[in-house]
């Protein structure tokens, strides 16, 4: 899940030139779950823009549960189902994550895009009204040694070898209402009987695996991950 929040309307209005005709695009998956760009929010945005005197060519959102970040779906949506309005549009306002924005750009052959949302993190949907971050997408998972909890994400400093001296009553120095990530890991390792893991030295991260942009090519029986760390081919097990 890519969590997103809508940008303030005044910021969005500031992107649009006078007489610019805009088409509003939403995402039926993550942005819908965040209430930042599902069908109702996309329609509502189109209405709000019209009320502000903006020319709106149309609006569309992928079906419920369907992500905007899949190129074939967006091509079908904008180039077939909404062909006419899409062609009339000078630009697209995307109520979705940054991947969705680029997907619209690709689908419209380099069309002008405006971000309608800020993409804030990748997270777990704990329940319908709460999403929280457990993974930083670092390319080198180490939670085997930390009881399933990621120190890169849960520790404000991303420390790999244990807590700093800043925790007080199990809370982090950056915010006394927030759990110290290493306190959570320590408690969990004790509960699992695996505290010995905490005693082992952890190497510094290979940041070249975290270099952006990265890509994954999925082939027949094999996938290739590309980053600055090089190409890593892995067998896919169908």
């Amino acid at each position: 899940m890519h969590a997103t929040i809508q940008k303030p309307i005044d910021e969005i209005l500031g992107y649009l030139k006078p007489d610019e005709r805009v088409f509003v695009v939403g995402c039926g998956n993550c942005a819908a779950k965040c209430h930042s760009g599902g069908e109702p929010e996309t329609q509502e945005m189109a209405e709000r823009l019209k009320r502000k005197g903006i020319k709106v060519a149309g609006w569309s959102c992928t079906d419920s549960g369907v992500s905007l970040c899949k190129l074939s779906i967006v091509k079908k949506m904008l180039n077939e189902e909404h062909k006419k309005e899409s062609e009339q549009a000078d630009s697209f306002l995307i109520l979705a994550c940054g991947q969705g924005i680029h997907t619209v750009m690709d689908a419209t052959d380099g069309g002008m895009v405006h971000p309608g949302c800020d993409t804030i993190f990748g997270g777990e949907t704990v329940n319908d009204d709460f999403i929280t971050e457990y993974c930083s997408l670092c390319g080198e998972c180490i939670v085997e040694y930390t009881g399933g909890l990621c120190p890169v994400t849960l520790c404000a400093k991303g420390l790999l070898n244990g807590p700093c001296g800043g925790a007080k009553d199990g809370k982090c120095e950056v915010d006394r209402n927030r759990d110290c990530g290493w306190q959570l890991i320590y408690d969990r390792l004790i509960a699992l009987g695996r505290l010995d893991e905490m005693e082992k030295y952890k190497m510094p991260k290979n940041n070249s695996k975290w270099s952006r942009p990265r890509s994954l090519a999925i082939g027949e029986g094999e996938a290739t991950f590309k980053s600055l760390s090089g190409e890593r081919k892995v067998a896919s097990h169908a």
Partner: protein, 293 residues
């Protein structure tokens, strides 16, 4: 050779002091503070952007101490530099005559005056110690040979009053394995707890220098209890401070610091006095305790 290393290796009880570099380029006051400590301490810690507030760097100030014949403990945090910069600054430090390095994590930038800064923490304190040890052995942390190697005396920090204590002790052991040859601690106000801590780490056979923060007032104690991790000033000390008239507070501060030093002395290898502005009291504290550096 590092006087601090010599003193600790000879088993002598050491006293270290601390200065905080200023926000600006005029070092007069800070060097005067250091001068005041000259006859009373073996080495002087130079903090590295303490509290994540922008200041002149610990490298420059450490070098200025050396020019004046004072021995610095160069504090180096992981907060602001990646592994290239950390290793390069270490090599620079050696070229300036710096031998003692205290490797620390560093307060998060959100707590300082540049809260929008990118927190680096490319290495953590254990990894930094290991990188510095590797430099001592003539290699960088990527395994490449150095044309010439430094020979740092590496230190680290530990918080004896942390709750729970076990994660601190686990990390302390990793720091020793990574090359820490001495430890300086967070401020101690409860000698009994410190004694318990020292008995738990007895097997580690590493010199521990107990942190002493000069307590200026009851308000300061309450503030630290509420806000500073790993510091717990007992109610009895707060009361003692409250019952002291304002004009007698400096005297009380000296008495308190000296008392704690005497209480921790049997269990550790030295004390690290953090005056936080009351630098002129350090000589009085030392003479009251009767420790000879």
């Amino acid at each position: 050779m590092s006087k601090l290393k010599q003193a600790l290796e000879s088993g002598r009880f050491v006293v270290t002091g601390e200065i905080g570099p200023p926000k600006g380029v005029d070092l007069d006051k800070c060097l005067q503070d250091a001068q005041m400590l000259r006859e009373h301490v073996t080495a002087i810690n130079v903090t590295d952007l303490q509290s994540a507030v922008l200041r002149i760097g610990s490298l420059a100030v450490s070098a200025r101490l050396i020019e004046r014949g004072l021995e610095p403990v160069y504090q180096l945090t992981c907060r602001d530099r990646n592994r290239l910069a950390l290793q390069s600054d270490l090599l620079s430090a050696w070229s300036l005559g710096i031998e003692n390095v205290l490797c620390i994590t560093g307060d998060h930038p959100i707590l300082g005056d540049h809260s929008e800064a990118k927190p680096v923490y490319d290495l953590d304190s254990v990894q930094l110690l290991k990188a510095a040890s590797t430099l001592n052995q003539g290699h960088d942390m990527a395994g490449h040979e150095l044309e010439s190697a430094p020979s740092f005396f590496l230190g680290a920090v530990v918080t004896p009053a942390a709750e729970p204590l076990e994660p601190q002790i686990i990390k302390m052991k990793k720091k020793i394995e990574a090359g820490a040859k001495f430890f300086q601690t967070q401020a101690i106000y409860e000698p009994e707890k410190f004694e318990q801590f020292m008995s738990r780490i007895q097997g580690y056979k590493v010199p521990v220098i107990a942190g002493i923060v000069i307590l200026k007032s009851a308000a300061m104690a309450k503030f630290m209890n509420a806000n500073v991790a790993g510091i717990s000033v007992p109610e009895s000390i707060i009361r003692e401070m409250e019952e002291t008239a304002k004009e007698d507070r400096r005297k009380k501060a000296v008495e308190l610091a000296a008392r704690i030093i005497r209480q921790v002395e049997p269990f550790c290898q030295g004390v690290h006095i953090m005056p936080l502005g009351w630098d002129e009291l350090v000589p009085e504290i030392i003479s009251e305790v009767g420790v000879i550096p």
